[in-house]
């Protein structure tokens, strides 16, 4: 931090991070991400011509040349979009490759003509932070000031024109003018950052912090602030890293640190980060498996007309077509969750020694009843209200039984007038059965025709 050049680079990276983050949030929310990439390539012929014009690497002439070329590029994109049927992405690609090709032609001309001092031009391709001067710092701060002032003054207008072009047209906002100002500012930001990160990586600085912020933010102001903060953080992180390792380039490290911030937030963000989502997915899967098990237990008991109330491993194996070990671990899970109790019985003829039988506890019974009730109510609802055939409803009910809430179930029940049998003639456990944990006492009705 004591070295003069170190201070310049760190300060420059932070300034660049803030201004690129701020303007980048508009770039991302208006789907202009590849526009930045195109602009940064399109300035190349301008840089070459500026260099030839001044006869040396002169910051001002390069800046003027780059600005003119960037402006021309923007005009070409606008022209192609307006006057032809060419899609926006293709016109970006056309301008990018055409301008870049002209730029490379000029650069190779310059190299072959053997002009001295042309080495500085290479730095615009990949950036050369160590060559950053006070002049560059001034340009970076001017860029930040301009962007900040523009966003501060036009915050509302930009918001409206960005999200509701029709409405902004109806209240006569100068949407076109704002858009061109925005494009010009993007171009200026890109040009001012070229010395630090180079042509290829500028668009990363525009896009990555803003994309990261868009994962987190709820409101637009917060989104802007977050993007600035993330841009500054990655600028600081990148320049710091580049001084830690010797001889590492600053530009790519700035980009890499903002990418790591992005990945960090993608995986660990509070509400729907990937880790949280994965955990949720796991627990939901587990719940559904348990519910299916309880339902199977209910069906076994139903087949035995609820007497006796014990379930053997063998019965469950037959019912679910599972192996002994799987059912055993399922049973252990149920016992662990206090939905069932185990009873070891003495040897008998058909049972193997020490075989576990389980009896559902009142909680387990209630849970099982509720799932079966959801399933059968939904089947009945589909046949009666949605006119499904009775043999088509099972798959659908298999899925919905796990997500129906208490409220919805009541509604369906009211709609169907408290039914007792489902389309297949099976009993629908009533609310009383569920509540009291008693065994349904209504006699088995046998298949009845609905409708």
């Amino acid at each position: 931090m004591t070295d003069e050049s170190v201070r310049i680079v760190v300060l420059g990276s932070i300034l660049m991070g803030i201004s690129c983050g701020l303007i980048g949030s508009y770039v991302v929310s208006r789907r202009l991400s590849l526009f930045g990439d195109t602009l940064s390539h399109a300035v190349l012929p301008g840089i070459a011509i500026g260099f030839v014009w001044a006869g040396e690497k002169n910051n001002l002439s390069l800046l003027v040349g780059a600005s003119v070329a960037g402006f021309l590029g923007v005009c070409c994109i606008g022209l192609l979009n307006k006057s032809t049927k060419i899609k926006e992405d293709s016109s970006l690609g056309i301008v990018l490759s055409a301008f870049y090709a002209v730029g490379i032609c000029l650069l190779t001309r310059i190299q072959k003509s053997g002009m001295s001092e042309q080495s500085g031009l290479e730095s615009y391709m990949f950036g050369q932070a160590s060559a950053l001067s006070y002049g560059d710092l001034e340009i970076l701060s001017i860029a930040l000031l301009l962007v900040g002032a523009f966003v501060f003054a036009n915050y509302k207008e930009l918001l409206v024109t960005g999200f509701d072009p029709e409405f902004s047209k109806s209240i006569k906002l100068p949407a076109e003018l704002l858009q061109y100002c925005l494009w010009a500012l993007i171009a200026f930001c890109v040009i001012s950052s070229l010395q630090l990160v180079g042509v290829v990586l500028v668009s990363a600085l525009l896009v990555i912090p803003a994309a990261t912020a868009s994962l987190l933010a709820q409101r637009y102001a917060g989104y802007l602030a977050l993007a600035c903060l993330l841009g500054a953080a990655s600028g600081l992180g990148g320049s710091f890293l580049s001084f830690l390792g010797n001889n590492l380039p600053t530009g790519p490290l700035i980009v890499l640190s903002s990418t790591s911030l992005f990945l960090l937030i993608l995986f660990c963000r509070p509400k729907n980060g990937l880790i949280i989502r994965w955990l949720n997915f796991r627990s939901t899967k587990k719940r559904i498996a348990r519910e299916n098990l309880l339902k199977a237990a209910f069906q076994i008991l139903e087949a035995k007309e609820f007497d006796p109330t014990e379930i053997t491993i063998e019965e469950m194996m037959n019912k679910r077509r599972a192996t002994n070990a799987m059912v055993r671990s399922d049973f252990e899970d149920l016992i662990h969750a206090e939905f069932a109790t185990a009873s070891i019985i003495e040897e008998s003829k058909q049972d193997l020694p020490g075989q576990t039988r389980i009896t559902l506890t009142p909680q387990g019974w209630e849970y099982a009843c509720r799932i079966v009730r959801n399933h059968r109510l939904w089947e009945l609802y589909l046949t009666n209200e949605a006119q499904y055939e009775p043999d088509h409803v099972h798959e659908d009910a298999e899925k919905i039984e796990h997500v129906l809430g208490e409220e919805t179930v009541r509604q369906i029940e009211r709609l169907l007038k408290n039914p007792r049998t489902d389309p297949h003639g099976k009993l629908i456990p009533s609310l009383d059965d569920v509540r009291q944990g008693s065994i349904p006492t209504t006699p088995f009705l046998g298949p009845t025709k609905m409708r």
Binding site: I94, Y100, A101, S113, E122, L248, V255
Partner: protein, 318 residues
């Protein structure tokens, strides 16, 4: 200095064809350029139709870490591992983009810019971490130098001299791309224009799109060594949009690619002879010039035609 050297017929048109060795060099460069623009033009038409024109740009930057890692693991510049590494990196790049697009709120354009710049930055950093040991010049990949094509080693099969290896590689890739386009034209067409319909008629739409991406990665990687990123991006986009000024059907656009490719490489080659600059860039400039001509005089929606129509329309209105 003067940017434009004086035009001389002799230097730009006669000299490259003056002696046997010169003719051979010029022919190899032109054949290479033509092959690149054919294969890129064919696959590029489907990319442009899907509104992913800059995907080529993204993939061609994204393969850099693959090249570096392949070099570090293999320890040499032999072609097979490099090609494999680049292909894997290119596919990883397009996979990441698709994943971000489908599983987060990030839009496609942002996902593209995010992924390929990150990959590129990773590649540049890896190169720099190696210090002086690694001889990959990131700039070389960006510019490419088609003029070096004739320097590629000769290929020998069963003792037969077959000729330049770079051209053979590119030729095989071009053949693969054209075969796929010819045999699976219907599938590619529907998958690009109406993915929903294709899906509803039970086609494996994801697989078809992955196949397009695979072909794109293959073409990009194969051409990159010779011609660099600019020419790849230009050749992916220009043939299709230029042809669309003259024809409407995709099949005729695809056929139009072939004469355009020839025009680009021959025109660009002579332009480079005149200006004494990078040949690949000059080919892209030639493509730009052809595009501008098409833009002005195209029979479909060209500027001149529209101007005439407008003035006739306003004249009859009066």
């Amino acid at each position: 200095m003067n940017l434009f050297p004086e035009f001389s017929m002799e230097a730009s048109f006669i000299e490259p064809w003056s002696s046997a060795s010169q003719v051979r060099w010029s022919l190899e460069v032109i054949v290479m350029g033509t092959l690149v623009s054919w294969s890129c033009g064919l696959i590029g038409s489907f990319i442009v139709v899907r509104r992913m024109a800059l995907m080529g740009d993204a993939i061609s930057h994204g393969i850099l870490p693959g090249l570096v890692i392949a070099f570090l693991l293999g320890g040499s510049f032999s072609v097979a591992p490099m090609l494999l590494g680049a292909c894997i990196a290119g596919l990883a790049c397009s996979f990441c983009i698709e994943w971000l697009r489908h599983h987060t709120t990030i839009r496609q354009d942002a996902a593209m810019a995010l992924v390929f710049t990150s990959f590129f930055a990773l590649g540049v950093t890896l190169i720099n971490l190696q210090g002086g040991h690694l001889d990959i010049d990131a700039g070389c990949i960006l510019y490419g130098e088609i003029g070096l094509t004739p320097l590629a080693p000769e290929m020998q099969v069963l003792g037969l001299e077959l000729g330049n290896r770079a051209i053979w590689t590119m030729g095989v890739v071009t053949a693969i791309v054209s075969m796929v386009v010819i045999f699976f034209y219907k599938q590619l067409l529907l998958a690009s224009f109406d993915p929903t319909l294709a899906q509803s008629s039970g086609w494996p739409i994801r697989k078809i799109q992955m196949a397009i991406m695979l072909l794109l990665a293959l073409t990009t990687v194969a051409s990159l060594e010779a011609v660099g990123v600019i020419l790849v991006v230009a050749m992916l986009i220009f043939p299709c949009v230029t042809a669309s000024f003259f024809c409407v059907r995709l099949s005729s656009i695809l056929i139009f690619t072939f004469p355009l490719g020839l025009l680009y490489s021959i025109g660009g080659f002579h332009l480079a002879q005149w200006l004494d600059c990078s040949i690949a860039a000059a080919m892209a400039v030639a493509a730009t010039c052809v595009f501008i001509v098409a833009f002005l005089f195209g029979t479909q929606d060209g500027c001149l035609l529209r101007f005439l129509k407008n003035s006739r329309g306003s004249a009859s209105a009066q």
